[in-house]
């Protein structure tokens, strides 16, 4: 039993955090909202140079051969800065799916994914809309129980604006005559695995978002004075933030456990992911609710940065399986005859 991250994993997290916090400032995010694609090829290139685009690509295809446990801490940091580039989808969902699909498709695209020359994006029918389809060099689209591997020109996109100006969502129309790359039971298995990976990515980002909202709120309430004191010294304000800290603290281990289960392709991965996403997105939603409250009227403005992270948290809670969907996964597991419950069942 070793529920810790290695020294290397923690050091990598530190260096990625340092890079992201320096580079992905709120000013840069705001500037990105007004651009055509909302995405920044120069930034993507920097992520590639750090090895992040190839992190989960096998070494024989030019990557680092790492897995979901290695990536989960980095996904938290992506959440912390509200990274607009589709790195989490690419590295945590699309690259493993390419490996599962295998064959020439994988052999061709994995090296390009590793080097960052290609952005590979997965879109599930359950998600309603396809995130970042407009910048996908390869779109792995699940539709009607089948998977399609599409390059630009083989599909068209209609943008649907999100409350989060950092998100780009599209209705995708596939050109007639596209041939599926997976069908039937195989396709269903890939859909379930992709949903697990995508939901894990949301959960990890939600942890980072919640932490960012705590940090912003702690800073703001230390600076803002009323009645001659920082408002952060008042218990009513402190307890709002303490409540977030408690829920966030107990959401972390479920997310890390889910990463392990996903990396191992374990039978319990869906349940572990459902737990992780529910716990983490709830923590992030509570962080949003309590953070806007302690920011007062400033929190309700466009100018103060809080909303960047709040809106992303709201959006992630309802994508890659909304709360109802994941609760149903949990209910199916725990209300089954012979369900493994109680003391000692957690790691069985």
């Amino acid at each position: 039993m070793d529920f810790t991250f290695s020294e290397d994993q923690l050091l990598f997290q530190d260096s990625v955090r340092g890079f992201l916090v320096n580079e992905i400032t709120p000013e840069r995010l705001r500037a990105g909202w007004d651009t055509d694609t909302g995405r920044d090829p120069a930034l993507w290139q920097q992520l590639a140079e750090m090895g992040l685009t190839g992190l989960t690509v096998p070494e024989e295809h030019g990557g680092l051969g790492m897995d979901a446990v290695d990536f989960v801490l980095l996904a938290q940091e992506c959440g912390y800065v509200a990274l607009p580039e589709p790195l989490v989808n690419h590295a945590l969902v699309a690259v493993p799916l390419l490996q599962d699909l295998g064959g020439e498709l994988a052999a061709h695209w994995l090296p390009l994914a590793a080097s960052g020359e290609a952005r590979v994006i997965v879109a599930l029918e359950q998600n309603l809309l396809a995130e970042d389809a407009h910048v996908a060099d390869l779109l792995l689209l699940e539709r009607g129980g089948e998977w399609f591997a599409l390059t630009q020109g083989q599909f068209s996109c209609e943008h649907s604006e999100s409350v989060d100006p950092g998100r780009r969502l599209f209705t995708v129309t596939v050109q007639a005559g596209a041939t599926p790359v997976a069908t039937g039971a195989a396709a269903a298995g890939l859909r379930a695995a992709s949903l697990n990976r995508g939901a894990l990515g949301c959960a990890a980002q939600a942890l980072g978002l919640a932490q960012r909202m705590i940090d912003l709120s702690v800073q703001y309430t230390a600076e803002r004075k009323q009645f001659g004191k920082p408002i952060g010294s008042f218990q009513a304000v402190k307890h709002h933030m303490a409540n977030v800290a408690v829920r966030l603290e107990y959401a972390k281990a479920p997310v890390h456990r889910a990463a392990f289960e996903v990396a191992e392709n374990a039978a319990g991965a869906s349940l572990a992911v459902a737990q992780a996403k529910l716990m983490a997105c709830e923590a992030a939603n509570l962080a949003a609710k309590n953070s806007i409250q302690v920011h007062g009227a400033m929190g309700y403005t466009w100018e103060v940065d809080l909303h960047i992270f709040m809106k992303k948290a709201w959006a992630l809670a309802n994508t890659w399986g909304d709360a109802g969907w994941h609760k149903q996964q949990v209910a199916t597991a725990i209300f089954a005859d012979g369900a493994a419950l109680g003391a000692g069942a957690t790691f069985q």
């Binding site: 039993m1 070793d2 529920f3 810790t4 991250f5 290695s6 446990v69 705590i214 702690v218 309430t221 230390a222 004191k229 920082p230 952060g232 010294s233 218990q235 304000v237 402190k238 307890h239 933030m241 303490a242 409540n243 800290a245 408690v246 603290e249 107990y250 959401a251 972390k252 281990a253 479920p254 890390h256 456990r257 392990f260 289960e261 737990q275 529910l278 716990m279 609760k327 949990v330 209910a331 725990i334 209300f335 369900a339 419950l341 109680g342 003391a343 000692g344 069942a345 957690t346 790691f347």
Partner: protein, 387 residues
Amino acid sequence: MQLAFTEQQQAFRQEIREWLAANAPAEPLKTFDTEEGFQQHREWEAVLNHGRWGMVTWPEALGGRGCDLIEWLIFEEEYYRARAPLRVNQNGIFLLGPTLMEYGTEEQKARFLPAMAEGRDVWAQGWSEPGAGSDMAAIRSTAHLQGDKYIINGQKTWSTRAVWADWLFGMFRTDPGSERHRGLTFILVPLNTPGITVRPIPQLDGLPGFAEIFFDNVEVDVSNRLGDDGAGWAVAMATAGFERGLMLRSPARFQETARRLVELYRENEATASQDPHIREAVIRAYLDAESYCLSTYQTACRLSQGGKIGAESSTNKIFWSELDQNMHATAMSILGARAELLPHAPAAKGVGSWLDGWLFSQSGPIYAGTNEIQRNIIAERMLGMPR
């Protein structure tokens, strides 16, 4: 990261499982908030100790097994699965024991630890006073050093299990001119010393689970002081740290409650499902109990590798106490009109021990530092908000 038990850990689990199957009482003991039940639980501690299962984390030389935190969690899982009796001496073995090992002299360790382990000495805690609850530094009970004796005067209260306990560990003001957390001393007091009056306080279920204690010129030998004169606050903080930390509130207890709650819901689904909130709350109970378990394992592994427990440990008390309250509230909702019935009432078929648990769960957010105090600690020490 490797989330599976080693063969050695699995063998350890098997060993305790078999021992409990052979030795744990078949019928539940009477509650230790009665004289008869207290005696039964004291005898059970002796049985546990005889099997060397009483204090598995203690060193082998002291009758323990030198278990690490993971083995401790495994032990607790099996203990709660077997529905073995609650630990009447938990103030002693989980709080004072580790404190003694850290601050006690060799003479004190030899004098107190074996008797504690065998259940011969059951310990009560003497910290709170009528004017010093959440504000523990407001302690006013005094201990005046005269020769080789402390002369203790004053009053302690909310002292759990003090009605039938043998000893008390308490904090007393030894420097009469001192204020707040300075000038306090940690002293171990035999409860049969002349001048002590123990007055039972009936708790929410009517039983004398705690007591107030009056000290009238009580003489205690100076060799019963733990740590230095005037250094009691630091010793007490170490004890409070153990209390809030991993030892006392194992995930196993809450996972078993969550499991029983799922069963209760399924048995009563026809009526319980009419309120959609109940189903949601049962799912929530499972999620939170599992998360508590996962977080505890993660912390235990981190500590095993030399990590330090930080201010985030203050989140622990809030999380489990609210979880416990929520789970029992949900059980009350499922039981509906039967929920208020005492277990022995003629019409109380199938209510089990949920009412007892519901009453007890009311104390969780209050004792061992109220949840409001914990929130202040989290905000100030973990998040760095201004005082």
